[in-house]
Amino acid sequence: MLKSSTHALAALALAALVAVGCSSPSTSSKAVLKLGLQDPPSTLDPAVAYNIPAIGVSHLMFNGLVTFDPQAKLVPDLAESWTVSPDGREYRFTLRDGVRFHDGKPFSSADVKYSLERVLKPATKSPGSSFFRQIEGAPAVIAGDAPHASGIMAPTPREVVIRLAAPQPYFLQLLAMGFGSVVPDGQADAPGFEKHPIGTGPFAFEGMVAGQRITLTKNPHYFKPDEPKLDGIEVHLGLNEQVETLRFERGELDVLGVFRNIGAADYVRLSKDPKWQGKFLEAADNATHYLGLNTGMKPFDNPKVREAVARAIDKSKIVTLLNGRAVPAEGMLPPSLPGFGPEDKGYPYSPDVARKLLAEAGYPNGFTTPYWTSNSQTVLKVAQQIQQDLSQVGIKAELKPVTFPTLLSAVSRPGNAPMFGGNWSQDYPDPSNFLPTLFHSRQIKPSHAINSTFFTDALTDRLLDQADRQPSEAERFATYRKAQERIIAQAPVVPLYHPKNVDLTQSWVKGYRIHPVWPLDPTGLTIAK
């Protein structure tokens, strides 16, 4: 009897411990969206946030003057309306009335001026400063020579004027990026803002338990009517890819694939599981993975060699390798990017022509080249497939897998990386973020080249400069497409594929959609358990 009582007590104690250990921090009656993440975002300061988790979480707490709607079109956010001067250099914004920050402080034009100048100031170390370089007086602030930019004015509390040094037809797109988020005047420079941010967004920062979770709570005074519908968002930390999937399957997380792709093995398994049929959401990602060929290095200084490489790669095999979560790339502009033209076509897969071109270029037996690539599992898998394709035409590509920071440094130096795996994701949805950035010769500097194929072509430069000045969007996009046609023909890069965003939601998640810009769009999103 005594023995059985002891066993019963022990079982009870164990059950209590298990219950404590597995208990959920939030109450089930509230509509709280639960997501998973491995490491906490590097920062929650929108002036510095420049990776998917950091942008994804910080964006939930902030607004800019303008933003992107679900079709990637510009719509008002903290600005009620705006006008652009006939010369395209001056933007005059009328701000919403009655908006308050999460701490109750009223929002005004001074906050906008402070926020934009803060991004420019060297002390902020914002990766966003280069996007706002066209603002009058910005270069002096970026260089640390002036505290204020003459082109950012706050004439009245509800009016902001931004004056550019030269017209920039896509300036509003730049302003809609996370770097354009408005923070409260003076408060963002206080130590610890990056961990306890204050914005005007749909959710307010409630707290972070180190290593466990970040909790955001609904902003009850949010200026958009009936938004947000969720009571809060919890980001559960410390979940690696496999654990995140297992927790999702157990119903402890609501959406899978928000801040990182669903792991390849898990995706294959879940997509075959009848339980999840019809619950996958899919959207094209505005990103392009490509093979870069350094036109400043032999043998890739020869256009025939570059064309041979382009014709030697079978992109359909890569898409199969990625379990169909990608589309073959014809050009550098992704299909869902405004300005994309379906008529754009790259070189077809034709290894026989590739061999002929190599022979014409003086390499009848092919050649050997180092192939720099990121050491991430997926990228490496693709690189090995390319390596195999290239070997079929006699090109021996020797893989050099390195960390992403090392790859970034390696390809930005001249004469260093003849062939490399590149990946460009949109900062904002416009061709100006893809083509001039990667292919204009002005992007080649001895110390740092963003144009890492060191492609120098007068016609391409001319077309890109022309597009940069065209106020009509249709004309601008048409010129960009001409530039892309020229680039693809010259083949400094072989566009490989555009990845797809594939997310999986629980049946109780309503109104979830994949936004073309923001990692998580809470508009209309709710939970109905």
Partner: protein, 305 residues
């Protein structure tokens, strides 16, 4: 006494060497923190501004002097990515890593010492055979696989323990087992052999001949002598625990200094990387010093070396 002073001076020299090596390594890595922080889109001017703000434009000797000056005062600078001071970042994560390492030592003691002792006292018995199997398994199974298998079994398939995460003693069980099992295997083998050797010694026969009860023979005479290599191994194992913690923390999402270091490596957050290396070096050097002192107490013959 002079031996202790020598050890102390040696420890300081090792620490300074590690600090210098950690600094030098950041110049060997062919990645530029300013470029990483600025992002792929940043123009040359932005990269240069960030480089200046980080103090990376200063001559190398100046950077080294700044770094060493801060390091000896326990100031590892501020994170390039978050802007937060590095030392509080490490101290914030330290309790999690300490709990994990403590749990792993618990596994060493429970499994390693327990089975080692059993096998040592009863050669070819059940405990000995179990110990041999566990020792072989513990050494040969990769810890990340073992961790994932444990998670799948005990947290997903049979959900009696939390599925990853951190916060309660229950969360600690699987990570501690994962980190500790490999080390426990060495302890099993070492203590088993050590006990078997000691039990054959003359002084054990003498103790038994004096009529000392067997438990006292084992605890007072055999275990004390057999544990000497175990204490030494524990000192060496601090490095193993800290190194192993990086992988275990990643598998279980354990918010310790290991997972923070992994994140820092991915973003080239050099002050956090160097701060973690130096912090770990300080702990390892200090523990080894303590082990030296304890060994002297356990075996006075060591003092004369």
């Amino acid at each position: 006494m002079s031996g202790i002073v020598k050890r102390l001076l040696g420890a300081i020299a090792v620490w300074l060497g590690v600090a210098t090596l950690a600094f030098a390594l950041t110049y060997v890595i062919p990645a530029d923190p300013a470029k990483t922080l600025a992002g792929a889109q940043a123009d040359a001017a932005t990269v240069e501004n960030i480089r200046r703000e980080l103090g990376l434009d200063a001559p190398l000797p100046v950077q080294y002097a700044r770094y060493m000056g801060g390091a000896v005062r326990g100031d590892f600078g501020t994170s390039y990515v978050s802007g937060s001071p590095v030392m509080p970042m490490i101290l914030e994560r330290l309790p999690a890593t300490a709990a994990l390492a403590g749990g792993a030592v618990g596994v060493y003691v429970l499994i390693g010492v327990g089975l080692g002792l059993w096998g040592g006292l009863k050669p070819r018995g059940v405990g000995d055979k179990l110990g041999v199997v566990m020792a072989a398994g513990g050494v040969s199974v990769p810890s990340f696989w073992f961790g994932l298998a444990l998670l799948y079994l005990f947290a997903y398939r049979y959900p009696i323990l939390p599925l990853g995460g951190y916060g309660s003693p229950l969360h600690l069980i699987l990570p501690a087992l994962t980190l500790g099992i490999g080390g426990a295997a060495y302890y099993i083998r070492l203590l088993r052999q050590s006990m078997q050797d000691v039990m054959r010694q003359d002084f054990i026969r003498t103790a038994r001949a004096k009529g000392l009860p067997e438990p006292q023979v084992v605890t007072r005479h055999a275990l004390r002598n057999a544990s000497l290599p175990i204490v030494t191994l524990l000192g060496v194992d601090v490095a193993h625990l800290l190194g192993g913690a990086v992988l275990t923390e990643s598998v279980f999402g354990w918010p310790g200094i290991g997972s923070q270091a992994m994140q820092a490596i991915a973003t080239m957050d050099v002050p956090v990387i160097m701060g973690t290396v130096l912090f770990a070096a300080t702990v390892i050097v200090a523990v080894n010093l303590i082990v030296d002192l304890v060994t002297r107490v356990l075996d006075p013959r060591v003092s004369s070396l």
